[in-house]
Point group: D2
Chain length 147, copies 4
């Protein structure tokens, strides 16, 4: 079943710009995170709930291609997609667009694992968080059909 | 006894500037923290050691006056002074200068309390961390004589 | 005439927390800015329009009292009030609350001046930006009646 | 001729940590920048001088692999290497290590182009900044011999 989620949208803050008068490139990495957490909450994969179970989801890798700048006060949208999940690792792809100008600004990907908050050892969500595991599988399968 | 500490010095990072081409005002608040933690380590009040004892030192207030801008790639110095300490509360004053131009850029103050990391209840360092208490009293008295 | 504006509301981002597991104190200073620019846009004092006229509105001072922590994933609200304006200087007061817990977390104030983007010299908006001047006076008078 | 540069070293700031009690992953991207600008200055490719000639060097892509966490108050080192340069594009590789623990924490790469500050059009440094061009070629050749 295909599911569709509203993109994550907000306006650029002043403090996100740098002396080139555009958004500093490190902030797009933060926008990936904002949109990922927002998407996960709406999709039934609440990050705060997972942390409540003592499981963290650190970033193990990130990649971004900056195609076009975004400016102060502009609305931007981010569309995150869960493109890989096997209970032990997950990966998301992102597209950031300048809304009014309808320009693709940044694309990227992030990779994640799941660890026990106390021991910091990797965990398999199939055993440790079945509700998250089932829902994430469902989403990634829907996503793969769409592509 | 008067003690003297080297000021905290470093260069402005590109990502600390904003589209006005100067350091964003929120970053000076972060520089207060950088210089405070550096000063405390050199003065024998190591923050990481205090945290190792389960005691946090949160900021309860902060104030900054922006007198002059600092620019990308400039060296700046911060001189933090411990101006109040009673085992329960502490306060620091700061002076940020552009080193080469020898210009006073920002002055400010921060207020702190001490809390138990687990209960988040206020603690008195006289009982909970005697080494920190004794050393901080010594410093604040030296500071008050100087003024 | 009394005017009323919706508070600025959004959720805490993961990257805004620190190792105390609460929002880092410097970020509240950034939230003041976010809410101020949002308020100004809704109130007819668009910051981006002012910058389009070559006028910047730097922060000359800021003050914050941290009364209670805000946590990851919480909704917070900020109510900014224009409490002083004379064409040359302006001042805003802020109240940040944790929405669900209905707790007052941070109060603060910021001071501003207006400068020419090129010369960086102070300007009087009465002459340089009459639309902004008239509207800001109207707002500050409404605000003063309310208090 | 092989040249050797001291790595970029500094301590982790409190505000760079997040609620996982480690450095937030977006900050490593900022450390790449800090170390790149520091390296360029020491290597005779001063970024501020290039900007003085009206040429900006934006980031067109970035990639990071997070292998191990870095903690508050630790010293870290970054070794940037100029691995590609043709006058129009450049690329750097980075290795971030926890100094005392001697652990490789993050590796990454960044890609850059050169643009005119006013027109934002790409420029070729062979024509626009011969001193930078000659020195960068020299460095990238030295780097390629070493590998």
């Amino acid at each position: 079943m295909e599911e569709s989620f509203a993109p994550y949208v907000r306006r650029v803050y002043y403090y996100e710009t740098d002396k080139m008068s555009v958004v500093h490139h490190s902030n797009y990495i933060r926008w990936f995170e904002e949109s990922r957490i927002d998407f996960m909450r709406h999709a039934g994969l609440d990050c705060a709930m997972l942390e409540g179970e003592g499981i963290l989801m650190p970033v193990t890798g990130v990649e971004a291609k900056y195609r076009s700048s975004i400016f102060f006060d502009e609305d931007f949208s981010v569309r995150p997609h869960l493109v890989y999940f096997n209970g032990v690792r997950a990966s998301f792809r992102y597209e950031i667009r300048a809304v009014k100008r309808d320009v693709l600004a940044v694309t990227g990907e992030s990779w994640h694992c799941f660890i026990d908050e106390k021991t910091r050892a990797p965990v398999n969500l199939k055993r440790m968080s079945p509700w998250f595991y089932a829902r994430a599988l469902e989403l990634v399968e829907g996503e793969n059909k769409r592509r």
